[in-house]
Amino acid sequence: MVDHLLCKLTLGSPEVLTSLAAQDAASVLAGPEAAGSPPPLVGSIDQGTSSTRYIIFNKQGDVVASAQMEHTQIFPKGADKVGCVITTRNQIMIKTSRITLIIFVFALFRLVGMNTILWRFMRTYVVV
């Protein structure tokens, strides 16, 4: 119960942070009138099905800082129970069908590939 209330903070790499601090210090020294403006940062809220993430990016697209937190999900047993249902069966079915699709596509490629080779082989043979 306590675990999901924890918000996990992750900071960017030391190189990214050092460079950001240097840019920021330079902009402060240059003043608002000068060309040096504070390094532009962009925030991104990713409100997902089981957790929420907030990530701050720099201009180069490096992660400067991020925080993540899970939220309560309600899995009702009866039809009258309220909340969010996530049926494992459903997810497994989605995963299974994806795997089946991938296998099918590979099988198809293989089949097509073999046919192509056979067909080319035949043609080469005929031409020769």
């Binding site: 918000c7 903070l9 900071l11 942070l17 950001l20 601090a21 920021d24 210090a25 504070p38 390094p39 532009p40 940062l41 962009v42 925030g43 991104s44 809220i45 990713d46 409100q47 997902g48 099905t49 929420t52 993430r53 907030y54 990530i55 701050i56 400067v64 800082a65 991020s66 925080a67 993540q68 937190m69 939220h71 309560t72 999900q73 309600i74 039809a79 309220v82 909340g83 969010c84 249902v85 996530i86 049926t87 459903n90 997810q91």
Partner: protein
């Protein structure tokens, strides 16, 4: 409410963490939102309170609802499957996945929501939205302020396209689609209760 609070907590902790690490205050230019898409929230703008828990995209409680809509929707032609009746207009098959089926489920199962939609004065306070709408609404206003203005009620076109209520041709809510999906035995859902579609 928990989701919005968690967003605030994540934002605060990331910024506090960064400022502490750099020993300065960093500002950000802008914020983007990506969200769990078809998950639906209904709330009242005068109280700022949701009518019900959010119904998540993979919640299968509306499987039967989707079948009902498929059965009730007008026939396109005799070759079209029931589940494809709205596909030409919305691009979607009729399945429990999409927000419109969750909206209908709420109309049928949440008494206060039904009651408010049937009341002329309360009806204008009803808001439906996906999680992006709910977050923007909460981040841009203060539902409990003196004037109870709340925030802005918007969504983007890609999220709107997952409701079963948006016409792909004009990228806006379609009154006929709303009528079909909401069901004729349920209270009418005015377009003003849906978020403005930003394009």
């Amino acid at each position: 409410m928990e989701i919005y609070e968690n967003v605030c907590r994540c934002v605060n902790i990331a910024h506090e963490g960064l400022n502490e690490a750099l020993k300065t205050t960093m500002t950000i230019k802008t914020v983007g939102i990506t969200n769990q898409r078809e998950t639906l929230v209904a709330w009242n703008s005068s109280t700022g309170q949701p009518y019900y828990n959010a119904i998540v995209w993979d919640d299968t409680r509306t499987t039967h609802t989707a079948r009902e809509i498929a059965h009730e929707a007008p026939c396109v032609n005799s070759f079209t499957k029931d589940s494809d009746k709205l596909r030409a207009q919305t691009g979607l098959p009729l399945a429990s996945y999409f927000s419109g089926t969750k909206l209908r489920w709420m109309l049928e199962n949440v008494p206060l929501l039904r009651q408010d939609l049937q009341s002329e004065s309360e009806c204008q306070n009803v808001r439906f939205g996906t999680i992006d709408s709910w977050l923007v609404y909460n981040m841009t206003g203060t539902p409990n302020d003196k004037y109870r203005t709340g925030g802005i009620h918007v969504t983007d076109v890609t999220n709107a396209s997952r409701w079963l209520l948006m016409d792909l041709k004009n990228l806006n809510w379609d009154e006929t689609l709303v009528g079909i999906v909401a069901g004729k035995n349920n209270p009418k859902v005015p377009l003003s209760t849906l978020p403005q579609v930003l394009r």
